[in-house]
């Protein structure tokens, strides 16, 4: 299971590239709380490519990925009022919901299917392909965050990055990772903890880009 190769994201056919809230406009979150339907449309246009990229890479099923993205926006529209201003940005909140929903779906799938997916994901990837890909330049909103996260991941030792990839993006549990990599479970836990300690230092300074 690996992240998909980088590619320049294309704007939706027939539509201009998505733009963030314009200067002088009320923040998107405030407009969503005020039930501004146009704000929801803007959010969908800006956030969909990232949510779809995440869910497709985790679920490896486009229809299911789209279902999760729809769920995420339903939840966002229903509960944006309960999102605390200081506690979490709008985009990280959406991504967290999407990742959790994708993991829930992965775990509901039959064991045989997960095994097949694992074999498929790892069988087709050599050590180099299992790395996070270099991002291409793009005018896509949020691309600077994508690059910053890539840089942070690239700074991790290979063995820590691999555990993050399997756990955070693959929905693998400790024991599954230990079995997959042939290392003790304690080592998996340690690598994940060390990786997160490093990542949080770098990523904590990234501001939410959807305002």
């Amino acid at each position: 299971m690996a992240l998909p190769p980088s590619s320049r994201p294309l704007p939706e056919a027939g539509r201009p590239p998505a733009q963030l809230a314009l200067t002088g406009q009320a923040p998107l979150r405030d407009r969503l709380v005020a039930r501004d339907e146009r704000a929801l449309v803007e959010l969908i246009e800006v956030a969909s490519p990232w949510l779809l990229g995440l869910t497709q890479s985790m679920l490896r099923d486009q229809d299911e990925a789209e279902e999760v993205v729809l769920e995420v926006f339903r939840i966002a529209w229903d509960r944006v009022g309960s999102l605390g201003g200081e506690h979490e940005g709008l985009m990280p909140w959406l991504l967290r919901i999407a990742r959790n929903r994708a993991i829930d779906r992965l775990r509901r799938r039959g064991r045989w299917r997960r095994k097949a997916e694992r074999a498929e994901a790892l069988g087709g990837l050599g050590p180099a392909a299992a790395q996070f890909q270099e991002p291409d330049e793009s005018a896509s909103p949020g691309w600077h965050v994508h690059e910053a996260v890539h840089a942070a991941l690239k700074d991790l030792p290979d063995e820590q990055r691999e555990v993050v990839r399997l756990a955070y993006f693959g929905g693998f549990t400790h024991s599954e990772i230990a079995k997959e990599l042939g290392i003790p479970m304690g080592t998996v836990k340690t690598r994940l903890r060390l990786a997160f300690d490093k990542l949080r230092v770098t990523l904590a300074s990234i501001q939410d880009w959807v305002r």
Binding site: S7, P49, D78, F169
Partner: protein, 241 residues
């Protein structure tokens, strides 16, 4: 090494969702009681909030954005229909309540037929709301040798949650069954659930009006006098949304 050290060591794994399902439930139960871990987990989630953006974006297929917007917004337009369903449910529940008061005046046979009709009507109405629900969560719960259940389902149109608790005896003297929302910032008190063996508790609640996203819900047995503090009594159910 104390038992709490296990939770400290596994905060990262909980955020990554790398814990085994049983461990994840154990950790979630712990969060309900541990402010320190709740705070640290929320901080870690916030600090790593951008991490999912490591994945390359994917261009939506033509028309998908429009389709999503339409499907999310279209549900609101169905509010009057759902509102009438909820009103009917409320009326039926009220009728069931009033029926209990009238019980003494009815013969045993009339009572049995009447109760069954009402229960059936209430069940039909509850099911009609559940059919629209996007999320339905069910947990078995036990209290004093009684086995019951807790069902939580959302009404996507009114943006409220319906909570049904059944099969439990009346709460012990000077105690209440308390329903809580679990948010990133701790437990937020919601409604008391009044359960009585053959009569389920039914409540419709809004999301808590406090900062922090809602992560789950819980039911505890609380002293009736304890109206202000956080949970202190035994945990009957703990659910992650």
């Amino acid at each position: 090494m104390t038992p709490h050290d296990w939770y400290i060591e596994n905060r990262a794994a909980y955020v990554a969702r790398a814990l085994e399902p049983r461990e994840e439930r154990l950790f979630a139960d712990h969060l309900v009681r541990c402010e320190e871990c709740t705070r640290e987990v929320a901080t870690l989630q916030r600090d790593l909030g951008s991490l999912p953006m490591a994945v390359d974006p994917a261009a939506p297929r033509p028309g998908l954005s429009h389709q999503i917007a339409e499907r999310v917004l279209r549900r609101r337009a169905r509010w009057p229909q759902a509102a009438s369903g909820l009103a009917a449910a409320a009326a039926i529940l009220l009728a069931v309540g009033l029926g209990v008061r009238e019980r003494r005046a009815l013969s045993a046979a009339e009572l049995a037929v009447s109760d069954r009709d009402r229960q059936l009507a209430a069940l039909r109405d509850t099911l009609s709301i559940m059919r629209q629900a996007q999320h339905v969560v069910q947990r078995d719960i036990a209290m004093g040798g009684h086995k019951g259940g807790l069902v939580i389902f959302d009404d996507p149109v009114s943006h409220r949650w319906n909570v049904v608790m059944h099969g439990l005896p009346r709460a012990p003297a000077d105690s209440v069954y308390q329903f809580w929302f679990i948010t990133e910032n701790g437990m937020v008190r919601s409604v008391e659930l009044r359960c009585d063996d053959d009569r389920p508790a039914f409540a419709t609640v809004g999301m808590p009006n406090t900062p922090g996203a809602v992560m789950g819900a819980a039911v505890t047995v609380e002293p009736a006098a304890n109206r202000a503090a956080g949970p202190s009594g035994p945990m009957l159910a703990h659910i992650q949304f």
